[in-house]
Symmetry: C2
Subunit: 354 residues, 2 copies
């Protein structure tokens, strides 16, 4: 059993008393002011007293006088608790640490009431700016509480003309990625029997419309069109899971041949596709090429290794936080800086499936 006492942060007056100096002298020393004549001995006595009592300079008091809290609020739907998008947080924390901002976390699970309540509560704690993030790329309706606080959109966007406080958005460059993976496949000799697996009308969460599929398809079609090749066959799925991938590809293979390249909308679908291709006796990376998006751990676990396009979550988080902290550090209150619209490149990790 441990003996415990509630923490009491000593006051400035207590430090002053302990050091045998006036409150204002203690204050000058502990705030590092050098415009006052204070003897070296006094200075040391105050510092020693602060150390002995465990005094912590009070950032809250500074906030009241400066109006700057050095805190950023991260509002997200699920990114802290989903296994892929959470890397955005690592990027945000790294950028925040560089500029000594603290990060507060609010997760709404897509519930509008929760969102209003959490944000109102958080804003009452004084924060300098907000990162509004989504677990997958989609359009969002911002809550009214964020109307007049500097705001950056992470992995989402909205009609910014209605949101003058929005200073930028950071999303993955999905269309470019669709282009790049198609170009790589063509280089590897896959120019016929091209299919894109993952067309779904079903929304995975809360009726949100993820836009990754449409944007990737745009890139794929652009490259095929430039080469005079037909658009890809679209293989629909129930959702983006291993089971759905297996069923869709299994059914497609039963319906007849001609499949030479399968671009999968995520690694889970590719996992299911592998199973169906294996069952049909087709050699992956030889009879049929497979490529995918997300580059999760799965891609490295499969045999043969799955060529997959990285979702640059860490970089997205870091960029968003950096744009925000740069903005907060700047003195452009009267200027009208451009809305920063940033697309982060998605690298392809090449393995043996293509």
């Amino acid at each position: 059993m441990a003996v415990r006492t509630k923490r009491t942060n000593p006051t400035l007056v207590e430090v002053a008393k302990h050091a045998g100096v006036s409150r204002s002298t203690a204050s000058f020393v502990l705030s590092g002011r050098t415009d006052q004549r204070i003897s070296r001995d006094t200075w040391q006595r105050v510092e020693q007293a602060a150390k002995e009592l465990g005094y912590r300079p009070n950032a809250y008091a500074r906030t009241l006088s400066t109006g700057v809290s050095n805190s950023i609020l991260l509002v997200s739907d699920y990114i802290a608790t989903t296994s892929t998008a959470n890397s955005m947080i690592a990027g945000i924390l790294d950028a925040a640490m560089e500029t000594r901002k603290s990060v507060l976390l609010a997760e709404t699970r897509g519930n509008a009431d929760t969102e209003h309540r959490l944000i109102a509560d958080m804003l009452s704690r004084q924060i300098d700016a907000v990162i509004y993030a989504s677990m997958f790329t989609r359009g969002v309706e911002l809550p009214r509480e964020l109307r007049d606080i500097p705001l950056i959109l992470l992995n989402c966007w909205t009609d910014i003309t209605r949101w003058p406080s929005a200073i930028g958005s950071v999303v993955p460059a999905e269309t470019d990625a669709g282009r790049a993976i198609t170009e790589l496949a063509l280089e590897r000799g896959y120019s016929t029997g091209i299919a894109f697996l993952g067309d779904t009308s079903k929304s995975p969460y809360n009726d949100w419309k993820p836009l990754a599929f449409a944007k990737r398809l745009e890139g794929i079609c652009a490259v095929l069109g430039e080469r005079g090749l037909p658009e890809p066959e679209l293989i629909p799925v129930g959702d983006w899971t291993v089971q759905a991938g297996f069923q869709a590809v299994d059914a497609r293979l039963s319906a007849g041949g001609g499949l030479r390249l399968l671009i999968c909308a995520n690694d889970q679908l590719a996992f299911g596709a592998y199973r169906a291709l294996n069952r049909a006796g087709l050699r992956i990376g030889r009879d049929v090429g497979v490529a995918s998006f997300d580059n999760t751990d799965i891609a490295g676990w499969l045999e043969p290794g799955l060529t997959s396009v990285t979702l640059p979550y860490y970089e997205m988080g870091k960029q968003a936080a950096t744009i925000l902290t740069d903005y907060l550090a700047g003195d452009d209150g009267d200027a009208e800086p451009e809305f920063a619209k940033v697309s982060i490149p998605m690298a392809i990790v090449e393995r043996e499936s293509l």
Copy 2:
């Protein structure tokens, strides 16, 4: 391009001026004080002015007067950014929301210098308490900065006699889980050829010693001992990955038969074990039973479905935050409450592999 202005939170004086009342009257109204005689008309004018100007009551000012910030700091090594342990955050956020605490996030990546710096910085912002969390269960050395702030250990422990400010620890009940999975396997008729896959001398991160394997083994041995059965064969691995699981089981099968039940230390190892068993023509769940720990998505993706023991991360996070907020809400400053030592049960999710 959006027109933006830096947010300026209106001051109390501005609200008072807008309402045509004195600063102190505005203050009384907005702090909800009912011990002053203020006319209903004045009350409404102030509230209207606050609304029009977008005035937010200042939690920082309240902190200065009450000494309570209603903020909790979550210090972790990697839990915000690893794909499994991050569910602890969902539990923490849910418990924090119930009591209207805000959660600040600091991630140290196991670097002691980063940890000292981040914590010192965070503590200067006034927080009421700290959750100190690890991505996997291990003993930790707490940084000295946390000496005198209420603290709960999440998924880790330390010598609490040296940490009087620690009020509790929350860990998964690994030994019980080892017992339970062994009892289930015996019920299913697997009583010979029992092996435990995952013995490793190599530490996965920063020389940390994860203790899950030893504690699970303790539970397994206890049940086997009670039934008069021999201890399990230990199959060593390089690390807890799919590839290591495949190699270890492949080598073990080449060395000879007799394997009837494989308990894997995590789902990735089980994934690799499946591959080796398939290659050897052994039917999983018939010729050889397989069970595992973690119950990640993988368990549901494999064929046959993998019986796996859940790591109750959400519940662990929620319990830790609840113990902390209960402590903060209590008025036991002079009492000496027991150190709360909580083990969260680990449920078995039964599928077809056992």
